[in-house]
């Protein structure tokens, strides 16, 4: 059955365990080992013998933000083609081999990385790793497969071009980052997708798919001694070095602007946001805790209480923090019947101001801490989710003992910290709003940027 989940909680970066709250600290249940292959490839490993399988999550530094001018969507399209034929096997043969071996293999592009997910039953491990290796080092890019994937992306773009949620998101990013790659859609545009060539994709592989750009996390029923040679078989044929990632810092524009895109739908979709704190900012955790109270906390946040619980203005209302390589945002969304949009936005602005002026209460802070720390072990329930965390820890340079230390960062946040950071960071008058629909009580302050389509 297709379960439609609410879009309220989007921000679980990582949390940790409060010794005070939990009898057993899950941190101690997880031992992260650093494994270096004979060929010099490093991976972080958590051994877990519960199910006879292995999950490998990996990232290459540099994502869609590095797509060349006019070729937006290159990283995404390349990712989609890596399992569409490699080595001796054409698309159908490769897919059949994956299916027969029950291998899960997926690639996806984000703004700052290209990610791979691989999962195999242990009994098929050796053959499965060959498929992983070939997808990384010998993708075929046969013309049939390339044109098929190109058409499929075009169809997705056509669908999104009239979807109010997608329009709101794309306009927001374009308005806020008009002069930076972050303003371009990861999936590209019809024009840029049409312009991408096989040569572009091969160049991307040469520049990005290199061992010095690679980060690997492994979880499953495998020993360090077994993992070493496996890493060499999977990744050893990649070139040692790639092109260094250089992305200019991005400045957020359109502060305080409201953009309205008219669409004949009964409910307006709203995206809003402002600058946030980057992952290595000394106050990152303060902002993280503050956002939980403001709008990050699922069924218990100020935005949820004020917009949904008290006024019934929306089914979904939330805020989230998103630290990226070249910028950071504190953003959110809400969807409200056209006639009440003005009211929703006023409530959100008021909550922004209340947090700026008053910070959080002692009870709110304590509740935030016990949630953010206590929910941490929920991230350790499947091999792939643990492996993703291992990649994130390496990507953000958090240290191999991060899981044990993480808790302390949350616990250390004080009311004074939140008041200080909220007072300087939150700017209700500088929020950038994008509204798609026929909203009442909302005035556009400028013409919306053109997103094509």
């Amino acid at each position: 059955m297709r379960m439609l989940c609410r879009a309220v909680t989007r921000i679980f970066v990582a949390a940790a365990v409060p010794a005070a709250l939990l009898a057993t600290a899950p941190a101690s249940a997880v031992t992260v080992e650093r494994v270096v292959s004979p060929g010099g490839i490093e991976a972080w490993l958590v051994r877990d013998t519960m199910v006879p399988l292995v999950a490998i999550e990996f990232s290459f530094r540099g994502g869609a933000a590095l797509d060349p001018e006019g070729k937006a969507g290159l990283a995404d399209m390349t990712s989609s083609l890596l399992d569409e034929g490699a080595g001796e096997l054409d698309s159908q043969a490769f897919q059949q081999r994956l299916a027969d071996l029950a291998v899960e293999l997926r690639f996806s592009a984000g703004t700052d990385t290209i990610r791979g997910s691989f999962k195999t039953l242990n009994r098929n491990r050796d053959e499965a790793v060959e498929l992983l290796r070939d997808s990384l080092t010998a993708p075929r890019f046969d013309v049939d497969a390339v044109e098929r994937i190109r058409q499929q992306i075009m169809v997705v773009l056509a669908r999104r071009s009239t979807d109010p949620d997608q329009i709101a998101e794309r306009v927001w990013w374009k308005a806020v980052f008009p002069d930076h790659p972050y303003g371009r859609p990861v999936e590209g545009t019809p024009q840029s997708i049409a312009a991408i060539t096989v040569a572009d994709m091969r160049q991307l592989l040469r520049e990005r798919f290199a061992r010095d750009q690679l980060i690997v996390g492994v979880v499953g029923d495998i020993t360090p001694g077994e993992l070493g040679p496996l890493l060499d078989r999977a990744f050893g044929a990649l070139p040692a070095t790639g092109k260094p990632v250089r992305l200019p810092e991005a400045t957020l524009r359109a502060a305080g602007q409201t953009f309205v895109i008219s669409q004949d739908v009964p409910q307006s979709v709203v995206q809003f946001g402002q600058p946030g704190l980057k992952r290595d900012h000394p106050d990152y955790y303060v902002g993280y805790v503050m956002n939980y109270v403001l709008g990050g906390g699922g069924f218990s946040s100020r935005l949820y209480d004020e917009v949904r619980e008290k006024r019934g203005l929306a089914y979904s209302v939330y805020s989230y923090v998103s630290p990226m390589d070249a910028a950071a945002i504190l953003a959110g969304g809400v969807s409200t019947e056209n006639s009440r949009v003005g009211e929703s936005l006023a409530v959100i602005r008021a909550e922004w101001a209340r947090m700026r002026d008053g910070g959080v209460t002692a009870v709110e802070l304590e509740d935030a801490k016990t949630y953010l720390t206590g929910s941490f072990p929920l991230r350790f329930t499947s091999t792939d989710s643990i492996a993703r965390m291992l990649v994130g820890m390496q990507y953000n340079d958090l240290g191999i003992d991060y899981i044990d230390r993480r808790n302390g960062y949350i616990e250390a946040v004080t009311r004074e910290d939140v008041a200080r950071v909220a007072g300087s960071l939150l700017q209700p008058d500088k929020l950038t709003f994008v509204v798609v629909g026929n909203p009442q009580g909302v005035e556009a302050t400028a013409a919306a940027p053109d997103i094509g389509g």
Binding site: M50, A55, S91, T370, S375
Partner: protein, 452 residues
């Protein structure tokens, strides 16, 4: 709080479907322990000691199909109200307590059932049981809460249905699919009936169906059955069994006419086509075909190497996407479906013709032994992957038991898939796909000059 739209795939197959190598015959899936409390509440426990956490779920055999006539949406609105409060835990403190203890929670409503769950540190299991058992019988219905939550649900309906032409078409097509069975109504309800629901409607539905003898408890995680049993007896066992509401054994009369449901909208840029055949499931109709139909759906529509994708997308190059689905996991009648969408600028007619040709070819030539073996192996491998989380066992067991399957049925799933033969697949295909009383949908762009 979420809503499950009417079945795309079954609960078991949702987690037990991908790709594979054969599981030895007789291999079980989750190895659960199960027992029944004196009041009739079923309990299932799956131990998984990877992390010191548990998922705690209560499923009620009460969904949209159990709503009285004219009261669509009451099951779902009640699910929302379950978070509002009891005398012991008023004013939304339920969610505050769960969050304060590091728990994540949610709930969902489908045609067949309503479920509530929390994922939390294992040593908080008792607290979750105290809270969940309390709201099984002690819910307070404040008019003010009902009025606010009704607005929330109307916003939810706008988000899910009204703002999306594909969903609006799906809702209409569903009503065409079922002439008599309440599956014809959307889970979220029709707007005018959501607006008209009263406090009495909500209280009546709650009294009729929220009882231990109509519920299944599932606990998955870092616990043992010996730890769960005394807690379940203490909290859920204290609630007496009750007489349930009148349960109607809905039967769908034979469909005798093909129907076409089309929707043209300026919001549509990319046309799409679907066709749904009436089909039996695990519980309803000619249930002996269910496992063979799962294998058939895998052969026809299981990913990029399936017959339909290969034919329409890879070889003929007329579709951007195409496939088939089957959902056997429902209390009532179900469907076997096909879908496809053309390449940019393409028309629907060639998609429909190519799909019909594939179905004719299947009925004429049948499937091959190689196709059946590969499909079975892929499905069975899912059973291994399904053990690699807390969510899959909780949903497979809870969702299966609440619709009327047994633990043995769910554990025997790989074995029953393994027993499917070429002849069984061909017989199932013939039974389902020779009945032309189908529902076909077309989602179309508004033509130039129309609807402006």
């Amino acid at each position: 709080m979420t809503l499950i739209s009417l079945g795309r795939r079954l609960v078991v197959a949702a987690f037990l479907v991908l790709t594979g190598t054969a599981v030895p015959a007789g291999a079980a899936v989750f190895n659960p322990d199960s027992f029944t409390l004196d009041n009739g509440m079923k309990v299932v426990v799956v131990s998984n000691h990877r992390a010191p956490v548990v998922t705690h779920m209560v499923w009620y055999r009460a969904g949209a199909m159990d709503e009285p006539p004219g009261r669509t949406g009451v099951a779902h609105l009640l699910e929302h109200l379950m978070f509002k409060g009891t005398e012991a835990y008023p004013d939304g403190v339920f969610s505050q307590i769960v969050a304060r203890h590091g728990g994540r929670e949610n709930a969902f409503t489908s045609q067949d059932y309503t479920g509530y769950f929390q994922s939390v540190a294992a040593d908080r299991l008792e607290l979750m049981m105290e809270l969940e058992s309390d709201r099984m019988t002690n819910l307070v219905f404040l008019q003010e809460d009902i009025d606010t939550e009704r607005q929330v649900v109307l916003e939810e309906r706008r988000s899910r249905i009204e703002n999306d032409p594909g969903s609006r078409l799906g809702e209409q097509a569903n009503a065409a699919m079922y002439m008599n069975h309440p599956y014809r109504n959307p889970v979220i309800g029709w707007e005018h009936e959501i607006r008209a629901l009263t406090r009495d409607d909500l209280m009546q539905f709650y009294r009729d169906w929220y009882a231990p003898n109509n519920a299944v408890l599932v606990v998955v995680g870092d616990v043992t059955v010996d730890q769960v049993r005394p807690l379940a007896e203490k909290y859920y066992g204290r609630i007496p069994a009750r007489e349930l509401g009148p349960r109607i054994d809905w039967r769908e009369p034979p469909a005798k006419a093909a129907q076409l449901v089309t929707l043209a909208d300026p919001q549509v840029r990319q046309p799409s086509w679907s066709r749904r055949y009436h089909a039996p499931g695990y519980i309803y109709g000619a249930t002996g075909h269910a496992y063979a139909l799962e294998v058939l759906a895998e052969i026809l529509g299981g990913g990029t190497t399936s017959r339909i994708y290969r034919s329409l997308v890879v070889e003929q190059k007329i579709a951007a996407g195409a496939g088939a689905w089957y959902n056997p996991s429902s209390r009532g009648p179900t469907g076997f479906g096909f879908y496809g969408s053309p390449l940019p600028g393409g028309e629907i007619a060639p998609i429909e013709a190519a799909m019909e040709a594939e179905i004719r070819k299947l009925l004429r030539d049948g499937v091959t032994a190689d196709e059946v073996e590969r499909a079975k192996a892929r499905l069975q491998a899912e059973a291994v992957y399904a053990r690699d989380s807390l969510r899959a066992p909780a949903h497979s067991l809870g969702g299966g038991l609440v619709i009327g399957m047994t633990v043995d049925d769910i554990e025997a799933w790989p074995e029953r898939i393994g027993a499917v033969t070429v002849e069984a697949v061909n017989a199932a295909a013939s039974t389902v796909l020779r009945n032309d009383a189908t529902v076909t949908t077309m989602l179309l762009p508004t033509k130039e000059g129309e609807g402006l």
